[in-house]
């Protein structure tokens, strides 16, 4: 039996070398999301300039799916307008991962999305 697509090269790559990983000095907003059922935690930081997401970073402790998903999302979102990012649907995130997940693992994939949406809402209401 071989590894299936869920742990494909791309995911493996993003897990081993997550993009934009780390804390941020002076973020505009910081959000921490947890999934108590499996202990996944992500702290996400954003900096905004002229309505665009200038910089995003995060520290995460979680499964491969949650870390790789955060990495992929951070690459996609950097430079986009907050408005544009806010129209992203959960299904877009899952599509970007390029694999079919069971309901239990979808939560892992979406924890960074939830954190980012919360961060944007918090920025907009501040």
């Amino acid at each position: 039996m071989t590894d299936d697509t869920i742990y494909s090269q791309i995911l493996d790559d993003h897990y081993r070398e997550p993009r934009n990983f780390g804390r941020m000095e002076d973020p505009d907003v910081q959000v921490t999301e947890t999934n108590p059922t499996c202990g996944d935690t992500i702290s996400l930081f954003i900096k905004v300039k002229d309505g665009n997401l200038e910089e995003i970073s995060y520290v995460a402790s979680g499964c491969l799916i949650s870390v790789a998903s955060a990495s992929i999302l951070s690459e996609k979102a950097t430079g986009s307008s907050l408005k544009e990012i806010r129209t992203m649907a959960k299904s877009d995130v899952l599509k970007n991962l390029g694999l079919k997940l069971g309901p239990a693992r979808e939560k892992c994939a979406l924890i960074s999305y939830d954190a980012l949406m919360k961060a944007i809402d918090r920025y907009n209401s501040s």
Binding site: Y7, Y15, R16, C63, V67
Partner: protein
């Protein structure tokens, strides 16, 4: 080993698929597979005798009632109880909810209940709910992850108000088998009601409710080869008679008037509505299956498996592997909970494999199906210093070669994921 694993597997239709797809099922603490005998008993009821119980005086109605009553007797004698001491419920969770909901009215609302930290959520949350509803106080006592609950653990938490102690006979996460007989005896000397969560013990070892000195005991059918949706609440006649009914409806009444009702005798008093007849019949068939093997043999087989697991753990000596629970197989069930972790570099990759990844990879690499998460025992999981662990758990159809495959999988995972 007294058990012929290969012969046993032939009774389980799902093993055709397991053999075809190379699946090694090791999540038996969550639920077990079903032998043909159980499936046939349920099917036969549907095909030949289906009708409601305790009502029809026609032939198949009487047959259904006889089958149902026989099932209760058979299951009762399996744990050393009498028929009228067995209430059919959905599962151990429901049984414990009945206990937590009804005991405050027996013991008084200004009472304290003691539970342990190794309890499953089903022996924690119902008591918290009872605390909110009825004002009883819940005390969770500490226990060490590598030894049994002792009388001293309980004694530290006893007060004049302690009226209930509710403990698991076997932890679903640590695999600790608690020696409850002596504890039950001392609790009774103090007039304290003793509730036992036997969801992980009745399926895996001989259990005699009289020897345990318990007042109430809960277990589920699906964890012992039976169908889902059927379980039992054992209670002494005294306590069942003192407890008020749980739900109202048909079956549980003697007479109903315009302005009230009288209840049926126990156990029907707690069984409102048409019961899970086929579930009871299926569970009875599961009990017959286990009786044929012998519960002493079931226990010694699983003891041998966990002993072998702990030996293999030392033999493989995987750098990142940490397991929990007592090392002495005499007090350890066939449950192996673990983590894979090495140092902490601050980055996700290289020093830690999340239990979800362990579970997923074990399945994809070697077909080994194990559980990951908090196993419905968050207080114990947190006390282990984590939020999630992985768990392998055995039953009668698992053999030593399954343990070998399991460790092969862990070795491959470590190689892939730990730097």
């Amino acid at each position: 080993m007294d058990i012929d694993v290969e012969e046993i597997r032939n009774h389980f239709p799902i093993f055709e698929r397991f053999r075809r797809d190379g699946i090694v099922y090791l999540d038996n603490a969550a639920t077990t597979q079903k032998p043909r005998e159980v499936v046939d008993a349920i099917t036969s009821f549907y095909y030949n005798s289906n009708s409601n119980v305790h009502r029809g005086v026609y032939r198949i109605g009487e047959e259904a009632t006889e089958l149902y009553n026989h099932s209760r007797e058979n299951i009762a004698s399996f744990i050393g109880a009498r028929s009228e001491e067995i209430v059919f419920v959905r599962n151990a969770t429901e049984a414990l909810n009945i206990a937590a909901n009804n005991l405050p009215d027996v013991v008084g609302r200004d009472s304290e209940v003691i539970i342990s930290r190794m309890e499953h959520h089903s022996n924690i949350v119902p008591w918290h709910l009872a605390s909110t509803r009825y004002g009883i106080r819940v005390k969770m006592m500490e226990n060490l992850p590598d030894r049994q609950i002792t009388w001293e653990d309980i004694e530290k938490n006893l007060t004049k108000k302690t009226r209930i102690v509710s403990l698991s006979q076997c932890s679903n996460i640590l695999g600790t088998i608690n020696d409850l007989s002596a504890i039950g005896k001392r609790l009774h000397e103090l007039g304290i009601i003793f509730v036992v969560d036997a969801a992980q013990s009745v399926p895996h070892m001989p259990v005699d409710v009289k020897k345990l000195n318990c007042d109430l005991l809960a277990f589920s059918g699906h964890k012992m080869l039976g169908p889902s949706g059927i379980g039992c609440l054992y209670g002494t006649s005294e306590i069942l008679e003192n407890m008020p009914p749980y739900m109202g409806g048909g079956e549980m009444i003697r007479e109903v008037y315009e302005n009230g009702f009288t209840t049926a005798d126990v156990p029907e008093k707690f069984e409102a509505g048409t019961p899970n007849i086929e579930g009871a019949i299926g569970l009875s068939a599961a009990v017959d299956f286990l009786k044929r093997i012998g519960m002493d043999n079931v226990r010694s087989h699983e003891k041998e498996l966990i002993k072998y697991t702990l030996e293999k753990e030392e033999e493989y000596a995987l750098e990142s592997l940490h397991s929990y629970g007592p090392r002495n197989p005499d007090i350890r069930a066939g449950i192996y909970t673990f983590q894979m972790k090495k140092g902490d570099s601050g980055k996700p990759y290289g020093n830690y494999v999340h239990p979800h990844d362990i579970s997923h990879l074990a399945d994809r690499i070697r077909g080994v199906e194990i559980r990951s998460g908090h196993h419905c025992a968050m207080p114990q999981t947190v006390a282990l210093g984590t939020y999630a662990t992985a768990r392998a758990s055995f039953y009668i159809y698992n053999g030593k070669e399954d343990v070998d495959t399991f460790f092969d999988a862990l070795k491959a995972i470590e190689k892939k994921m730990i730097a």
